[in-house]
Amino acid sequence: MADNSTVDDTTGTQAVKPEKGLLTSVFNFFGGKTLRLNNDIGAMAIFFFRSFILMFRLKAIPDIIQQVYYIGAKSAQIVMLVGFFTGMVLGLQLYFVLVGFGSVGVLGTAIALTLIREMGPVLAAIMITARAGSSMTAEIGIQRISEQIDALSTMRIDPLGFLISPRIAAAVISFPILTAFFDLIGIIGAWVSGCLILGVNSGSYFYRVVSSTQIDDITGGFIKSIVFGVLVVTICCFQGYFTHMRTDSFGAKSVSLSTTSAVVISCVMILISDYVVNSFIL
C-alpha cells in the first residue's frame, strides 16, 4: 500500500506540474531581477530619507565632525596625490595633442575645464569610495553581525541617526572640499608637466585657467560632487547595514561581499549619475 501511494503521489505531482517554457524562464529571470532592483532602490531611498531627517539634531554635531575628519581629512592626502598625477598626465597628453595644432596656449583652458567639470568630481569620488566607502561598509557590516546595531535599538538609540546620518552629513561637507583640492592640485600637476617640464609659458597657462573658468563650471562640479557624496555614502552604508539580509553568504563572508558590492555599485553609480547630472546642467 505504501508503494502504491508513493507511485500515485509521484504521478499526481507530475500530472499537475506546469511545464516551464524558455520564454517563461527568461521573463521569470529578468522579472525577478527587476523586482529585486526596484525593491532595493525603494529601500535605499527610504534608508536615505530617514537618515537625512535625523541629521538635523544638535546631538549629531560631534559625530558629524568626527566623520568629516574621517571621510574628509583622512582622505585628503590620497585625493591630492591622485589629483597631482592626474593633472601631470593630462598636461602631458594635452600638450602633445595641442602642439600638433599649434595651440599650446590653450593648455590652461583645456586642463581647467576637464578637471573642474568632469575629472575632478568623478575621480575624487572614486578615490573616496575606495578609501572611506569600503571601510564604512565593513565597519557597519561588522557592527550588524556582532549585534551592535541591535544593541542600539534596545538602548532606544536610532541606529540610522547614530551611524548613518553623521556620515551623510560628512559626505555632503567633505566631497565638494576634496573635489576642490583635487581640481587645484590637478591644475598644479598639469603646470608641472606642461610648463616646468615641457616649457609652456606659466603666465599664459594660469591666465587661461582663470579666464576660461566660469562660475557655472565650478557650481556644476560641486553639484556633481554632492550628488556623488550622497550616492556613495548611501550605497556603502546600505550595503553594510543590511549585510545580514544577504542570501548568498553569512557572517564575515557577507561583510566581505557587501564591501565589494558597495565599491562596485558606487563606482558604477558615480558614472551613471555623472551622465544624468551633466545632461541637466549642460
Binding site: E147, D150, T154, M155, R156, I157
Partner: protein, 420 residues
C-alpha cells in the same frame, strides 16, 4: 499564589516560525515584578528568540505579549517608548562597541537617550563602572580587555539607565566556574540592590537556582514548567532528564560538591537501607557577611571564598563517609550517615581546627590576633549540627542544624594575594 499577582510581562499563546522551522509553539508564561526569573532550555530551542520578542526585536506570528496587562503590539508610540525605556538587554556576545572605550560604551545610552548634562553623564557612568570593578580599564577599548571584563561592561551598560526590567541573554557563556558564579552573584546582588525584574537565560544548573525566584523551562517549542526552583528539581518530565544528563557535570565545577538533586538521591539511597532507629548527623555551614565581601572586595573574592569552603568541606567530611551539597548562595549542607551527634561533634572540632589553621585558599585572609589591613573586610563561617533519623525529612534536620549554628571561624580578608 501566582494567580493573585499581576505579571509585569506575560506571553499568551506566542508562536514564532522562521521559514519552515517552528521555534515557539503557542507558549504561555508570566514574569513577576522584582523577581529573578530564569529561562532554561537546551541549545537552539528558542530562548534568545523568546527574549527578543520582549524587546520588540522580533514580532510573534501568533499570540500576544502583555506588559502590565496591555498588549505591546497595540501600544501607541509614547507608550511603546515608555515601555522600551524601562527595559535593558544584555546580549549573549555583549554587543559592545569595539571602537569606543569602556567609559564611552557605558555612557552611550545616557548620552543619546537622556537630557542629562555631560558632567551628570560622567558621574553616573563612572558610578556604574566603579560598582562593576572596571575603574582601571575605563579608558581602554572593549577589545583590549578580557572576556569577563567585557561581560561586566555589558552589565554596567545595561544598568546605567536604571531599568525596571533587565533581560540577560546567557550572561555566563564562556566564563570559568569562578567567573560564572561571580556574574550570577553580581546579577543577584544588583537585583537586590536596585530592585529590577530580571529575566535570565542560563545553562548554569544548579548554580542558577540559588539566585532565581522562578524557573521557566522551554522544551519542544513549549514552556513545560514554570515555578520555583525547588519544584523544578522534583519535576518529572523528559526535559528534566535530558537537561540533567547534558548539564549535570556543570554542578560540580565551582565547589566539587553534589547538586541538591544528587544530594537528595544520595540521602535517600544511603538512609533508606538503614534501620528506622538508626541515627545520622547533619551539619549546615553558612558564610556570614558575604554580601559585604562582594560589595567591598568584588564578586571574584566572594566566589573564591565559597569555592574554598566548599572544597574544604568536601575533602574533610568526604574522608569520613559524609556527602555535601551547596544549598543556597552562601550555605552548605553535609550529611554524616554513619556518625551520631557525639562523633560528629568531634569531627567538627577537627574541621574547625584545620580550617582556622589553613584558612581560605586563594584569598589573603587574617585571623584574630594578626595585624589586619585597614581596608580589610570581615566575614565569618557559622556551623551547626543536628541529629536525624532516616524517617525524618532532611529539610527538618537541616533546620535544626541552622538553629544550632555557632561561629566556627572569623576572618578578615583583603584584595589580592594568595593564601595566608
Amino acid at each position: 499564589m501566582d494567580t493573585q499577582r499581576e505579571p509585569i510581562i506575560e506571553f499568551k499563546g506566542v508562536s514564532k516560525t522562521f521559514g519552515d522551522r517552528n521555534i515557539l509553539d503557542r507558549i504561555d508564561f508570566s514574569i513577576y515584578e522584582g523577581e529573578v526569573t530564569t529561562l532554561i532550555g537546551l541549545s537552539g530551542t528558542g530562548k534568545s528568540v523568546t527574549l527578543k520578542h520582549i524587546i520588540g526585536m522580533l514580532e510573534p506570528d501568533e499570540g500576544q505579549i502583555l506588559f502590565r496587562g496591555k498588549p505591546i503590539d497595540q501600544m501607541k508610540k509614547a507608550e511603546w517608548n515608555n515601555y522600551i525605556g524601562q527595559i535593558s538587554y544584555m546580549f549573549q556576545n555583549n554587543a559592545l562597541f569595539d571602537s569606543l572605550t569602556v567609559f564611552e560604551n557605558v555612557a552611550l545610552p545616557l548620552k543619546y537617550t537622556t537630557k542629562l548634562k555631560k558632567k551628570e553623564i560622567e558621574q553616573k557612568a563612572m558610578a556604574r563602572i566603579e560598582q562593576t570593578e572596571l575603574t582601571e580599564v575605563a579608558d581602554k577599548y572593549s577589545s583590549e580587555i578580557s572576556g569577563g571584563m567585557q561581560k561586566r561592561v555589558a552589565l554596567a551598560r545595561a544598568l546605567v539607565t536604571d531599568p525596571n526590567i533587565v533581560l540577560f541573554d546567557e550572561p555566563t557563556t564562556g566564563q570559568d566556574p569562578i567567573r560564572k558564579n561571580a556574574i550570577l552573584g553580581m546579577v543577584a546582588d544588583y537585583q537586590k540592590r536596585f530592585g529590577f525584574t530580571a529575566l535570565l537565560i542560563s545553562h548554569e544548573i544548579p548554580d542558577v537556582y540559588f539566585i532565581s525566584n522562578r524557573i521557566l523551562a522551554l522544551y519542544g517549542r513549549k514552556i513545560v514548567f514554570q515555578g520555583n526552583p525547588e519544584d523544578f528539581e522534583s519535576l518529572d518530565h523528559p526535559f528534566r532528564q535530558e537537561l540533567i544528563s547534558s548539564l549535570e557535570n556543570l554542578g560540580h565545577e565551582l565547589t566539587g560538591l553534589y547538586s541538591r538533586r544528587q544530594f537528595k538521591v544520595r540521602y535517600q539511597s544511603d538512609l533508606s537501607q538503614r534501620r528506622t532507629d538508626a541515627s545520622y548527623a547533619a551539619a549546615v555551614f553558612t558564610i556570614d557577611d558575604l554580601d559585604n565581601v562582594s560589595e567591598k572586595l568584588g564578586h571574584d573574592v566572594a566566589q573564591q571564598i565559597i569555592r574554598s569552603l566548599g572544597s574544604y568541606i568536601n575533602k574533610h567530611f568526604g574522608a569520613v563517609g559524609g556527602f555535601s551539597s551547596r544549598q543556597t548562595i552562601n550555605e552548605y549542607a553535609t550529611v554524616l550517615p554513619y556518625s551520631d551527634l557525639e562523633e560528629s561533634e568531634r569531627i567538627m572540632e577537627d574541621f574547625t581546627k584545620d580550617f582556622n589553621k589553613h584558612g581560605i585558599q586563594g584569598v589573603k585572609t587574617y585571623i584574630e590576633g594578626e595585624d589586619k589591613p585597614e581596608d580589610g573586610v570581615e566575614f565569618s563561617v557559622l556551623a551547626g549540627l543536628a541529629q536525624g533519623k532516616p524517617q525524618i525529612e532532611i529539610e527538618s534536620v537541616m533546620e535544626f542544624a541552622r538553629f544550632n549554628q555557632k561561629e566556627l571561624a572569623r576572618f578578615t580578608c583583603a584584595r589580592g594575594g594568595e593564601a595566608q
